[in-house]
C-alpha cells in the first residue's frame, strides 16, 4: 500500500466525478494546444511558404506595424537586384482580397520578372503569358473553396478574372493563395507602383558576414527592413496580437482547469475529513497526507493530459481539413507546444490541490474525527 495507491483509490471511489474533472482538464489542454499550435504555425507556415518559393531574405517597409500595412516602391526592384550577392528579386504585393464577394483570400501580385514564376508548380493549367491581363492562378485549397477550375472566372474588386491554372504548392499558406500579375493587382487594389515586400534569393554559399553587408546595403536604399524569411512575422503586430490572444485564452482555459481541480479536491477533502482524521490518528504526518492529496491532483491532471493531448491533436487535424477554417488557418502542433501545455496542466493541478491539501491538515485529529 503506497501513497500513490491510496490516492488512486480515492479518485476511483467517485469515478464519474473524476472522469468529468479529467475531461474538463482535457478540454482545457486541447484548447490550449490548438490555440498555441495556431499561433506558432503562422510564423512557421510563412517561413515554409517562403522557403518553398525559394526566398532567403524579405525586404519590407521599416517600422510598418504589420506586414500587409507596409508598402515599398516597386521601382526599387532593379536597384536591389543590382547589389552583389542577390541572385533573384521577387517583388510581391500581398493582401487579403475579396473573391466572388464571398471569400477573402491571401492574394499575391507578382512582377513579371519575379523569380517565383518559373519555379511555381502547377497541378493544371498554365502560367500567364507576358502582358496577359486579368488572369489568375488559384491555390488548390482556394479552388476547392470557391469550387472553380481552369477556364472558370472569379471576381475580385468587381473585376472578372479568368482562372488559367491551379498551383501545386505543398505548404498550407501557398495552397491558399490567389496569384496574379503584379500590374493587375496594383490596378485592382489602387496600389500603383507599390509592392508589399521584395523576396530575395541569395547567391548560394554566402558567408554570414557577406549577408549582413548585403542587408546593410539594401537598408541603405531607403526606409527598408531586411529580415531572414523565418523572421518575417517576428515583429508583425497582427501576429503578436494573435499570439497574445491565443496565449491569454490558453492561460484562462488552463487556469479554469486548475480551479476545477481545486474545487473538486476541496469537495473531496471535505467529504473525507473523517478519513483524514483516521490517517492522523494512525500517525500519518501532515506531509504524507498532503502528498496524497497533491498526488490526486497530479493524477487527475495526467488523466486530463491523456484525454486532452489526443483531443487537441485531433482538433488540429479536423480544423485543417475543415474548408471554412483550414483555408485560412493552419494548426500545426509540435512537441514544443505539447510539452508546455502538459507541464502547465500538471503545474496548475498541483497548485489547485495545494489548498485542499492544506485545508485537510489544518484540523486537529479530534476535529477531523468529529466530522460526520
Amino acid at each position: 500500500m503506497t501513497i500513490a495507491t491510496l490516492a488512486l483509490r480515492n479518485l476511483l471511489r467517485r469515478p464519474m466525478r473524476t472522469a468529468l474533472l479529467a475531461l474538463g482538464i482535457g478540454l482545457a489542454v486541447a484548447t490550449a494546444l490548438a490555440l498555441l499550435a495556431l499561433s506558432s504555425s503562422i510564423q512557421r507556415s510563412s517561413d515554409d511558404s517562403a522557403r518553398e518559393r525559394g526566398a532567403d531574405l524579405t525586404v519590407s517597409q521599416k517600422g510598418a506595424a504589420d506586414l500587409f500595412a507596409g508598402f515599398v516602391s516597386a521601382s526599387l526592384g532593379p536597384r536591389i537586384a543590382a547589389i552583389p550577392g542577390v541572385a533573384g528579386v521577387a517583388g510581391e504585393l500581398v493582401m487579403f482580397a475579396p473573391v466572388n464577394e464571398e471569400f477573402q483570400f491571401l492574394t499575391s501580385g507578382m512582377a513579371d520578372e519575379s523569380y517565383f514564376w518559373p519555379s511555381m508548380p502547377l497541378l493544371e493549367g498554365r502560367k500567364p503569358a507576358p502582358g496577359e491581363r486579368y488572369v489568375v492562378l488559384l491555390g488548390d485549397t482556394v479552388a476547392k473553396a470557391v469550387k472553380k477550375g481552369v477556364g472558370d472566372e472569379v471576381s475580385m474588386y468587381d473585376h472578372s478574372l479568368k482562372i488559367i491554372g491551379i498551383t501545386g504548392y505543398k505548404t498550407a499558406v501557398n495552397r491558399g493563395v490567389v496569384f496574379l500579375r503584379l500590374e493587375d493587382l496594383q490596378e485592382l487594389a489602387f496600389r500603383a507602383d507599390q509592392v508589399t515586400v521584395f523576396h530575395i534569393a541569395l547567391t548560394p554559399g554566402m558567408a554570414p558576414d557577406a549577408v549582413d553587408q548585403l542587408k546593410q546595403k539594401i537598408e541603405a536604399l531607403g526606409q527598408l527592413s531586411v529580415d531572414p524569411t523565418d523572421q518575417l512575422f517576428a515583429n508583425d503586430r497582427n501576429v503578436e496580437v494573435l499570439n497574445a490572444v491565443s496565449l491569454a485564452i490558453s492561460i484562462i482555459a488552463l487556469t479554469t482547469a486548475g480551479l476545477s481541480v481545486l474545487n473538486v479536491l476541496l469537495m473531496a477533502v471535505q467529504e473525507r475529513t473523517r478519513e483524514t482524521g483516521i490517517m492522523m490518528a494512525i500517525g500519518w504526518s501532515d506531509g504524507r497526507i498532503m502528498t496524497t492529496i497533491v498526488l490526486e491532483g497530479i493524477m487527475t491532471g495526467l488523466a486530463g493530459c491523456v484525454v486532452g493531448v489526443p483531443l487537441g491533436l485531433a482538433a488540429c487535424l479536423f480544423f485543417n481539413r475543415l474548408p471554412v477554417i483550414g483555408t485560412y488557418l493552419s494548426f500545426r502542433p509540435s512537441l514544443g507546444i505539447v510539452s508546455p501545455c502538459v507541464a502547465a496542466a500538471l503545474l496548475l493541478s498541483v497548485l489547485g490541490s495545494l489548498y485542499p491539501a492544506w485545508r485537510a491538515v489544518s484540523l486537529t485529529p479530534a476535529e477531523a474525527l468529529r466530522r460526520a
Binding site: 501513497i3 491510496l6 483516521i278 490518528a281 500517525g283 500519518w284 504524507r288 486537529t364 485529529p365
Partner: protein, 255 residues
Amino acid sequence: MTEANRRRLEPSAGICSAKGSLDQVNVPLIALRDVSRTFDDGSVVALRAIDLSVARGEFVSIVGRSGSGKSSLVHIMAGFDRPTSGQVVWQGRNVDDKRQWTTLRRESIGIVFQEFLLLPTLSALENVEIAMSGTGLTTAECRRRAADLLERVGLSARTSHLPFALSGGERQRVAIARSLANRPILLLADEPTGNLDSANAAAVLELLLALRSEAGMTLVLVTHDEAIAARADRIVRIGDGQVIAEPLGNEAAPR
C-alpha cells in the same frame, strides 16, 4: 488537586517495575498534569484539572457516564486534541508539538475506536498495512506483518474484503490489528466494544487483553461497562470532566 489525591492517582510501583527499568520505575509512561479542556471560549468544560499517570505495562480502565469526559481524556492522551491548560508528559518529557504527537502515534501509541474507523476504500489487509506506511518498512514487510496480524485476530480468510463486507466484530478486529501494526507500547481503546453485540464484544475484549498480555503493552481502556472495567489493574472514574475517585488497585472497583 491535593497531594494525597495526586498520590492516589499515581500508578502502583509493582506494575511499573514488572516491565520497566530502574529509571522507568519513577517515570510514568504517560502523565497528564493539571489538564483542562474547554470549548466555546470556556463555556463548555470537558476536562477539569486532570492529574493522571499511567505506568508502563499497566492496564487502566477509564469509566464514566456518557458526556463525562472519557473520550476527551483519551483524545488528549493520544494527542488528537490539545489541552486548554496543563501538560501531557510522555516518559518524562512534555509533549506539546504536533510533530511529536504524530511521531508518537506512528511509533508508540496504538488506537482503537468505538466506531472502528477503517478506510472504506481499502481492504482489511490494506487498512492494516497503511498504518505502517512511512515507517521505513518495505512494502513486502508491511504486507507480511499485516497478514500476520490479521491471522492473529482470526481474519486470515478475510484479508481482501472491504470494510463494508465485514461484520462489526470483524471490523473491530481489523482495527485492533491496525492499532498493533507498529508494535506500540501504549494502546488506547475508546469504547472498543461499544458498537458490538455481547458475543462479539466479549470476543473482541478477550482478544485485546490477550494481545496486550503477549506484547506487555500498556492499555488504557475507556468503557462504561463496569464488568469490563473491573478486569483492569486500576480504574479511573470520570464525572463532569473530573477524576472523581480512584481506588487503589481494582479490588475496590465494582464488579
